[in-house]
Structure formats: structure tokens, C-alpha cells
């Protein structure tokens, strides 16, 4: 079944192509808000019959139109009715139901909407848990109210229509009489009552008979697109991918309850529409050259939630940046620790990395000064709480052994961290990229301390720590016989020696000694890691390698975008362009929407990228990947009040312009020229980045202008 998903912040609807919702364990459809399912059933029938979808128009990410006809049982008989459902999300959803009679005789129809809700917590939807509370239904002032109550925890769904309806506790019924070629219409309002912060229980937002849904977007999609830089490029699919990324990123924007009217990127649709430390930070980093607002809100929101105490259930420590915040029943009753949960070892150093990168782009020193205590507490967390082995490295081991996360790095599945022979190490685990992030956090923290916070002594201390960490890291993590960095150190301080994509993040962080960089790059571009589409999470030949293993062989566009940035950092322009080429070319197969991950099969074997079966889509950091890859191929780097442009384009792109790049310089245009081999045009599908070497020297430039 094809799912149709529309959303506004953390409120979203997942339905089938007819617009119906009929949730089951295998079909997690429904209307969801604040991590609770408010409708598990919403089925339209006419004279007892379900309708057949003719087409679905995805008008906006918050609005869809379904065209339906009754089944006639045969293609030789035309339907005499058309049904249109126009649905928009916002504080619940709003649906305009229109029925058209194409017959020259009048008809009388029994139109029925069957409705129900299981009020499942999102975690229950995924794990199929039993409810402890009680359900209640009532008819209240012409509305059907579905309710759930467990002690003081209450959630309600209010359903009403603008046309007279017979309401029973299973739904709404309309007796519709249509003249020949007549038309009938009703507005259906489904309002969700959530006892979220700053909101009372059951405020139906659609009361007052408004015709249209009011998505809680203060800024329209058009404005968002207008404000983003413009891309001009002779590689057609890149234009489409860019636009898709911008639109999806707009959809993934989420206004946290603490900062109404401000937006940050949620992690992914539909199950991850909430604040995640790691995902929100990575996506904000990717999007910085395109919109700094996401980073600004992420920094402020994560700062507000910064850990302040030692709490084992939530894996919270003073200074720690949260991993995930949830609002559902299991969180409310402390059966799950997401209020918020802090079990991530990377979010805290990455917070400082984002703060510095944000300042480089925006020059917003006011915010950076306001967040100084947060950044200092984050840097102290690295020293005081992250070094679980007392060996100077960041490592992780959950204290909540029941519902906490075992792997607190981005590769968070159970088998992601392994030795070459496939064995899994014990805990704590000090994965290599965490050391890179900690190094970079200190280097960047030092810059902020010197330039913004005016504390040179602190800057010096951080720089000394960073240099010391780099020295030890290049000694302790270097796998001599393979000439790469170990994936992790285990509980005994021994190397977890599998070869994995994590070495690419090390380049991004700058922790790699110059004389080792070339060997790291050689591994990244080798056939063991590089499939032709991208760098695999785990190298071919390792014990646990599986081309469709979640973190043990698939290719993650997000991962590759940071690897490309890392390659640029060490001057490997051509390699960065090759990484960008593979991922951007793969995007065309997904109509511009890169999945979370795709298979690690060699490109020559499959000819197309194979989507990972259960990948969530759109996912924020996959959506952000093309943006960061554009930055990488254009070589955009803020230096003081200027933006440096140093393009190295993938083979096959003749010209690439990014216009109106916002930042502390106002707006800047960046353009680069590459080469296209004309001989190859017209012979099958052109592929990015695999054309013969160019004979023409690429040119580059930038143009500043005020606004």
C-alpha cells in the first residue's frame, strides 16, 4: 500500500491512497499529534462501499486532495459519482468532503465516516504494547468525542461536521440527496486535545466553522523558498533535488513548545517529528549556507533543555545535550525516559561545533554570548562526565539498562560497532568519531572564547587539551597493519579494528594528522568502502559486512555529505566531488528525495541504488545532504566577513551557480564551471562523476551584493 503523509510540526496524518485510515500492526496509519495517535480509524463509505482512488494530489506537505470513485466492479461501467477529499493538517485536521453526481437522475446516498482512536503512544505503535487506561466515547453538542484517560492523563479527539449528521459512537452518518449533476459538500473537523505545555486539554482549533485548515506555519512555504539561495545548474536533476530538499526541509521544520514561532529541524517523517540533539544539529549544520534560522532555534532549544543533574533513568548529566524529547503516555508515566532522554555521546560536543559554525556564517555574536554558559557546560561535560574510562577519551555506557540506548553514537543499532572478525566489544565504547567531535568542539570553543567571550586563558586551555587529544588519538587509534583509524577503543582500551565510514568524519573534525590523511582518503575511495554511489558504513570484507545491513554496509547520504566536507577540509577536492557526484546522481532515482540509507552493493552490479527496506523518509539529515554536498563542491567557507568560494565540480556539471547565499556578508553569489564530455551525451543515461577526465581548466568566482 502506498502511504500518503501530510504534516504540520508534530501533527501528521498517514493514510492510504483513498484517504482512509485503518490502523493495524502492519499498517501504522493514523492521525498523530504530540506522539499520540488520535485517530486509528477514519473510513469513508457510500452506501456501505469503500471508494477507489483515482488520483492523489500532494498540494503541499500539509495538504492533500484525494479523487475517488465508487467501485463498479468493471472498467466497462463508468462511475456515476465523484468524491473529493481535500485534507489539511494543523492542530488536528480539516477535510472538505465533496460528492458530485454525474447522472441525469437524482440519487440518495448513505454517506458514512467511521471513526475510532486507540490513543496509542508512538512507542506503542512500534512495539504493540497494551494500554493501561480506559476509553470513553460521548456525543457532546453535535460532536463525537473519543477519549482516553489514565489517572490525570487525558487525551481527546473531537469530531464534527458542518452538514447535519447522525452521530453515534462509531462515527458520523449523512443522508445525502443529490439532484441530477448536483453537488454536496461538508467540512469535517478533527481536533486533538493535548495536555502539552502551554496548552489546555482539548482546545478544538477548528471551532468557528473555518473553511480551511490553519497549519501553524507563520511563514508560508513560498516565503521559505523565496528566502533560500537560488540554484542554477545545467545538470537538470540537481535542480529538482535541490528544490525537493528545500520543500522537505520546510516540512520537517518544527516549532518547539518552548519557542513558539521559531523553527528547528525535526529528525524525520513520520515517526521522528520531534527534537533530537544529534539529528537537529547535523541538519542545522548542513543547512547553514541556506537558512541559519534552523541552527539558531536548535541552539537555543537544546540549550534550554541542557542537562543539569545526574539522573540515571534519563542518562542525564550536568551539561549534557539531550538526545530525544517525547510527549506520549509512556514518557508521561516514566515508563520511557524521553522527558527528555540524554543518552547520546556526540550531541554535546557537536553542540559547540554548531555554535561556532553558526557564528562563522551569521556573525550573530549576541546569541553566541547568550549561549556562553551552555557551551561552557557542554565543554565541561566532555571533561567531567564523558571520560568513563579515565583514559581521556569520550566513551559511552548507558546507566538506564532497561530502556536506555546501548549505542550512543549515530550508528545506534546493536551490531554497528564490531571488530574485524565480527565480535562485538563490551562497554564502555569509545568510538573514533566521538574523539574527533570532542577535538573540534575544543578548537572551536577556543575560537569563540578568544573572539567572542573574550577569555583568552580559557581559549588557551581548550587549545592545549585539543592538541593533547589529537596527539594521543593519532597514536592510540591508528591501526598499524591496516593504516587507518580503529572504529573504537573497547573497555580495555584495545582497538575495535573494523574499517568503517567513521574515518571520514575524522577528516571533517580535523583530528587526523596531515601525514595520515592521504592514507585515510585512500581507504575511503577504495572499492572496499566506496561503492560507486557512496561510502559504505562498513567496509566490504569485514565480519559483519552486509550491503543491506543498517549500519554495517548500507550507504547513508548524510554520512557521505560530512565525509565530503571532511575531504574538502584536507584539500581533497576531487575526491569530495566524486562523493558528491555519486550521492547526487543517486538522488535522481529517488526523485530528489534521498532515503535515510540505500544498499551498499557495487554500482556496477545494480546500476541503480537499492533503497534500504524500512528507511524513514523524508529524513532530515538525508534531506540536508544535497545542501552540504553543494557547499562541498562549491568549496564555500566563511572566513572573517567573507565567503570563500573554491569550486571543484563533479564531472558532468558544466556550470553551477548558487545565488544569494545569506550570511554576515549580506548576500553572495557563488559560481563554478566544470566540464561535460559532449561525446557521451545521448548515449544512454548520463551519469554524474564518471565521465573521463576534463581537458578544460575549471573556473570559479563569487560576487557580493547588498540587499
Amino acid at each position: 500500500m502506498n502511504e500518503v503523509k501530510i504534516l504540520d510540526g508534530n501533527t501528521f496524518v498517514v493514510s492510504d491512497e483513498a484517504g482512509d485510515i485503518e490502523a493495524s500492526l502492519t499498517d501504522p496509519t493514523g492521525l498523530f499529534s504530540f506522539d499520540t495517535r488520535f485517530l486509528s480509524k477514519w473510513v469513508l463509505t457510500i452506501d456501505g462501499q469503500r471508494l477507489n482512488p483515482l488520483s492523489v494530489d500532494d498540494l503541499q506537505y500539509f495538504e492533500t486532495r484525494f479523487f475517488l470513485v465508487p467501485g463498479t466492479g468493471t472498467v466497462y461501467v463508468d462511475a456515476k459519482l465523484s468524491v473529493i477529499r481535500l485534507r489539511a493538517v494543523g492542530g488536528g485536521f480539516h477535510e472538505v468532503l465533496t460528492i458530485l453526481n454525474h447522472d441525469d437522475r437524482p440519487v440518495t446516498l448513505d454517506v458514512r465516516i467511521a471513526a475510532d482512536s486507540d490513543f496509542a503512544d508512538l512507542f506503542e505503535v512500534k512495539d504493540a504494547l497494551k494500554k493501561s487506561g480506559a476509553y470513553a466515547r460521548r456525543i457532546d453538542d453535535g460532536r463525537l468525542v473519543l477519549g482516553y484517560k489514565r489517572e490525570t492523563f487525558e487525551r481527546e479527539t473531537w469530531i464534527s461536521a458542518t452538514q447535519p449528521a447522525t452521530i453515534d459512537d462509531q462515527g458520523l452518518r449523512f443522508k445525502v440527496t443529490l439532484e441530477p449533476h448536483g453537488r454536496w459538500e461538508t467540512d469535517l473537523h478533527v481536533a486533538t486535545g493535548v495536555d502539552a505545555p502551554g496548552q489546555s486539554v482539548a482546545i478544538p482549533k477548528y471551532e468557528g466553522g473555518s473553511r480551511r485548515a490553519k497549519p501553524n506555519m507563520e511563514r508560508s512555504l513560498e516565503k521559505w523558498l523565496d528566502e533560500a539561495p537560488r540554484l542554477e545548474c545545467d545538470w537538470a536533476s540537481l535542480n529538482a533535488t535541490y528544490r525537493r530538499s528545500l520543500v522537505d526541509l520546510a516540512a520537517l521544520r518544527f516549532s518547539p513548545v518552548s519557542l513558539p514561532g521559531h523553527y528547528l529541524p525535526a529528525a524525520g517523517l513520520p515517526w521522528f517529528m520531534t527534537l533530537f540533539g544529534r539529528d537537529s544539529i547535523f541538519t542545522s549544520l548542513q543547512a547553514l549556507p541556506f537558512s541559519a534560522e534552523l541552527a539558531a532555534t536548535t541552539l537555543t532549544a537544546l540549550g534550554l533543555w541542557q542537562g543539569a543533574r545526574v539522573d540515571d533513568f534519563r542518562d542525564e548529566d550536568p551539561g549534557r545535550i539531550l538526545h530525544e524529547l517525547r510527549f506520549g503516555e509512556l514518557t508521561a508515566f516514566e515508563e520511557r525516559p524521553h522527558s527528555p532522554y540524554y543518552g547520546a555521546a556526540d550531541a554535546t560536543p557537536l553542540y559547540v561545533v554548531l555554535l561556532d559554525e553558526y557564528e562563522r556564517w551569521t556573525g550573530d555574536t549576541r546569541r553566541v554570548r547568550a549561549l556562553e554558559p551552555v557551551a561552557r557546560a557542554a565543554l565541561s561535560w566532555i571533561d567531567d562526565y564523558a571520560d568513563l574510562q579515565g583514559n581521556g577519551y569520550v566513551s559511552y555506557k548507558r546507566r538506564n539498562e532497561k530502556t536506555g540506548l546501548e549505542n550512543q553514537c549515530w550508528k545506534d543499532s546493536w551490531d554497528s560497532i564490531s571488530y574485524r572478525d565480527g565480535r562485538l566489544p563490551g562497554f564502555p565504547r569509545a568510538t573514533c568519531e566521538l574523539q574527533g567531535y570532542a577535538y573540534d568542539a575544543r578548537v572551536r570553543g577556543a575560537r569563540l572564547a578568544r573572539d567572542v567571550w573574550k577569555d583568552p586563558a580559557y581559549a588557551e586551555r581548550l587549545e592545549k587539551q585539543a592538541a593533547e587529544l589529537k596527539r594521543r588519538f593519532n597514536r592510540d587509534f591508528w591501526v598499524e597493519d591496516g593504516e587507518y583509524f580503529a572504529l573504537a577503543l573497547d573497555a580495555d582500551g584495545a582497538q575495535v579494528d573494523a574499517l568503517a565510514s567513521n574515518i571520514g568524519h575524522l577528516l571533517w573534525s580535523g583530528i587526523v594528522d596531515k601525514n595520515k590523511a592521504k592514507r585515510v582518503v585512500r581507504h575511503l575511495m577504495s572499492t572496499r568502502l566506496y561503492s560507486g554511489w557512496g561510502v559504505r558504513t562498513l567496509a566490504e570484507g569485514e565480519g559483519r559486512y552486509n550491503p543491506i545491513g543498517y549500519h554495517v554496509g548500507t550507504i547513508w547520504p548524510f554520512d557521505n555529505s560530512f565525509i565530503a566536507w571532511g575531504l574538502r577540509r584536507y584539500g581533497f577536492k576531487e575526491e569530495a566531488a566524486r562523493i558528491a557526484a555519486g550521492i547526487l546522481d543517486a538522488a535522481e532515482f529517488f526523485e530528489g528525495r534521498l532515503p535515510e540509507a540505500f544498499g551498499g552493493y557495487p554500482r556496477a552490479l545494480t546500476r541503480f541504488p537499492v533503497q534500504y527496506p524500512t528507511a524513514c523518509s523524508p529524513q532530515a539529515w538525508s534531506t540536508g545532504a544535497p545542501l552540504l554536498l553543494l557547499r562541498a563542491v562549491l568549496g564555500l567557507e566563511p572566513v572573517g566577513e567573507h565567503l570563500l568560494v573554491d569550486p571543484a565540480l563533479p564531472q558532468g556539471i558544466g556550470h553551477l551557480e548558487l545565488l544569494d547565499i545569506p550570511g554576515r556578508w549580506g548576500r553572495i553569489d557563488a559560481f563554478g564551471r566544470g566540464t561535460v564530455d559532449v561525446d557521451r551525451v545521448g548515449r544512454g543515461r548520463r551519469q554524474l562523476g564518471v565521465l573521463p577526465q576534463s581537458k578544460v581548466k575549471p573556473t570559479a568566482g563569487s560576487r557580493v551584493h547588498g540587499h
Binding site: 490525570t152 518552548s258 545526574v310 539522573d311 548529566d317 561535560w381 567531567d384 562526565y385 546507566r399
Partner: protein, 125 residues
């Protein structure tokens, strides 16, 4: 009999300044019901400087709950955010201020003392 709520607010008043709240200004009121009456605690916050009083004046944010729940929050037995989601605690007004203030509540009692890091060691001292 021990009175964790009184001890908490009096401790805060005596301290006069709370570094964890240094970036925040505004007023908070805690309406705590129990038995016959509702007890009010009013906190005026100016960039970390705190003034605590017992009045029921208007505030930028008002938290309402019962004494038992609030005592449990202060003891680290209940999490304030979870209690809010349960509906045991309700909040009206500027949530951001309460979010800042809840940093002063303790964490859950646990076994973290056995961990060797400097931070936990500091906690033991």
C-alpha cells in the same frame, strides 16, 4: 516533620543568586494545593538574582500541582516534565521560564556513584 518545598524555596532565597538561571529574567509562581489551602511561592528572577516571597501576585508563568507531587519532584522521585505530560502538573504562561527553573530540581536517585568520572566524583564530595 521535614518540609522539602519550604526547604527548597528558603534555600533559594538564602542563596540570592542562582548561576544556572543567569540568562533569565521574569517571575514564576508555584500554586501548591494540599489539605484545605493552596500555598503560593512567588519567585522574581533577574538575570539569576532571585527574590522569593509567599504572595499570589501575577507571574509570567504559573505552575499548579499538589504538595505531594511537588515534594516528589524536589526529591528527584518524580520528573517535572513527565508530571506535566501526565496532567499532574499544569502550567500557564511562559513555559521557557519554567524550563530554565526546572534545572534546580534533582535527578533520580541511582547507582551513578560507582562511575569513575570526575563529575560523579565531584557529586560524591
Amino acid at each position: 516533620m521535614a518540609d522539602p518545598t519550604r526547604a527548597f524555596f528558603e534555600g533559594l532565597a538564602a542563596k540570592g543568586h542562582e548561576p544556572l538561571l543567569a540568562s533569565f529574567s521574569g517571575s514564576l509562581r508555584f500554586d501548591l494545593s494540599g489539605g484545605e489551602r493552596t500555598e503560593h511561592w512567588h519567585v522574581d528572577l533577574k538575570r539569576g538574582d532571585v527574590a522569593v516571597s509567599h504572595n499570589d501576585h501575577d507571574a509570567d508563568v504559573v505552575l499548579s500541582t499538589d504538595r505531594t507531587t511537588f515534594d516528589a519532584v524536589l526529591a528527584g522521585e518524580t520528573n517535572a516534565m513527565a508530571a506535566l505530560l501526565r496532567g499532574t502538573v499544569t502550567v500557564r504562561g511562559k513555559f521557557i521560564l519554567l524550563l530554565a527553573f526546572q534545572r534546580l530540581f534533582r535527578g533520580s536517585p541511582g547507582a551513578h556513584d560507582e562511575l569513575p568520572t570526575a563529575g560523579y566524583a565531584k557529586g560524591r564530595r
